[in-house]
Amino acid sequence: MCLAIPGKIVEISPDNQDSALVDVAGVRRRVNLSLLQDDRPALGDWVLIHVGFAMSKISEQDALDQMHTLQMLGESEAVIQEVSGYSADDAPPGGSA
């Protein structure tokens, strides 16, 4: 129900730490950071923006982990298939399984 877009904090207001300028592919908008007051983002952090408010910090690590998991998809399965293809009587090509 909710259009929310990642943006990078390029400026935090010197007289109001709840107000920041956020950049989305070159488009800039003032965004309210009050919802992140328990764990304040810093300059250069990426946040998720919805209706002019930052909803959450974006974890680069989790994003990387996700990409890694996706890249591995099907690979572990392929290994299992290859191994289970050999019955006790067959010698795997090249020697050991």
Binding site: N32, S34, L35, H50, S56, K57, A63, L70
Partner: protein, 376 residues
């Protein structure tokens, strides 16, 4: 675009779609509901149905806050704005929603002061800039948007801005899911859970779906790879007979949610005993109203609200489509009396309503004979 483009990478999408096909097999049929209207929109926008196997049926859920808003509430909001010197401010999503005498845009053409805002804070800014007028912000949205409305009202109170009020139509997602699961014709196997609502409420509120109803639910992001990965996770659970809550959207959703957002909501709102949902009827404890501390900024307290109730024509089958019993094109009125240009029922009103999405993106594809392969 960072954190967007990586999740639209074509090769990875194809690879993940292959894994889905492998997991889905051919031995059974899967009914998966995506609850959130944003997910419905993403599914159509990215053409994901084209790359999912035939035996996965996607049912579109009630998570479209514009669609489920009863027409009477729009009329009430417009009635308030008819008063002299009132500015009607709302998100773009609301502008073409038809009331009994036309949509906000149509009222604007007839002379009402109607402004589109991107943020509730922009509506408050309008109030500061127009001290001789009253700005009424027509608030809609689920728990994703409610905290922003709350913070804006807290700011109005702190700054003593009196020419500002909110007409609150915020709804909550859990009772809607409950209503879906409680309906007798329910035939769902699992859920793709709302991604951005969950940044606020976390994943814990969905535990009863897994524990009591034994349906798996995966909280998902909105990019193609997010939705496809969520589908992989759901299929793995379904194949192994598991039912648990999983978080696919880890880069922004935490298990506990956003405490500051929940605090802001608790400061300003309370739960309505019940609220009417277009297509689903009255659902208890499913919507928010402004509490007494903020009565001065509550449009329903500041103004006489007619309390208009307008029911959809009997022929409209919105409820059945919402619960996944009917597909949009199976509704009597679909594509004939009810189109995105002239919506009759809830689900045709907003671009993320399942009927509108189906009509806009899917409808004519069904008529195509040639299979699509991209040639350059």
């Amino acid at each position: 675009m960072r954190f967007v483009d990586e999740f639209r990478e074509p090769e990875l999408i194809s690879k993940t779609a292959e894994e889905i096909r492998r997991l889905a097999g051919t031995d059974r049929h899967y009914c998966i509901m995506e609850i959130c209207g944003g997910h419905t929109h993403a599914i159509y926008r990215f053409g994901l149905k084209d790359i999912l196997p035939e035996n996965i049926e996607l049912i579109h859920g009630p998570g479209c806050p514009v669609c489920v808003l009863p027409m009477g509430r729009i009329d009430d909001g417009l009635a308030i704005a008819q008063q002299p010197d009132v500015i009607f401010a709302a998100f773009g999503d609301m502008m073409r929603v038809p009331g009994a005498q036309g949509s906000p845009l149509e009222h604007k053409a007839r002379g009402m002061d109607v402004r589109i805002v991107y943020s509730p804070s922009d509506a408050l800014k309008l109030a500061r800039l127009n001290p001789e007028k009253h700005v009424m912000f027509f608030a809609i949205g689920f728990e994703t948007t409610a905290p922003s409305t709350a913070l804006t009202m807290m700011r109005a109170k702190a700054e003593g801005i009196r020419n500002f009020s909110v007409f609150c139509n915020h709804v909550t997602v859990i009772p809607a899911i409950r209503a879906i699961l409680d309906s007798p014709d329910m035939r769902l196997d699992g859920f793709i859970g709302p991604g951005h609502v969950s940044t606020v409420i976390g994943c814990r509120p969905y535990e009863w779906i897994a524990q009591n109803e034994h349906k798996p639910i995966v909280v998902s992001g909105f990019e193609p790879l997010d939705l496809l990965q969520s589908m992989v996770m759901l299929l793995r659970q379904l194949r192994s007979g598991e039912a648990k809550v999983e978080n696919q959207y880890k880069r922004v959703v935490t298990w506990e949610g956003n405490p500051a957002a929940l605090r802001a909501m608790a400061e300003v709102f309370e739960v309505r005993p019940y609220f009417e949902w277009r297509g689903l009827g009255l659902i208890p404890q499913s919507a928010l109203r402004i509490n007494d501390k903020y009565a001065e900024w509550d449009a329903e307290q500041r103004f006489e609200v007619p309390g208009i109730r307008v029911s959809d024509p009997k022929a409209a089958q919105c409820g059945e489509v919402l619960r996944g019993v009917l597909k949009p094109h199976q509704c009597r009125l679909f594509g004939r009396e009810c189109t995105p240009d002239r919506p009759v029922g809830a689900l045709m009103v907003s671009s993320e309503g399942s009927c509108a999405a189906y009509h806009n993106y899917e409808h004519r594809k069904a008529a195509m004979v040639t299979s699509l392969s991209q040639t350059a």
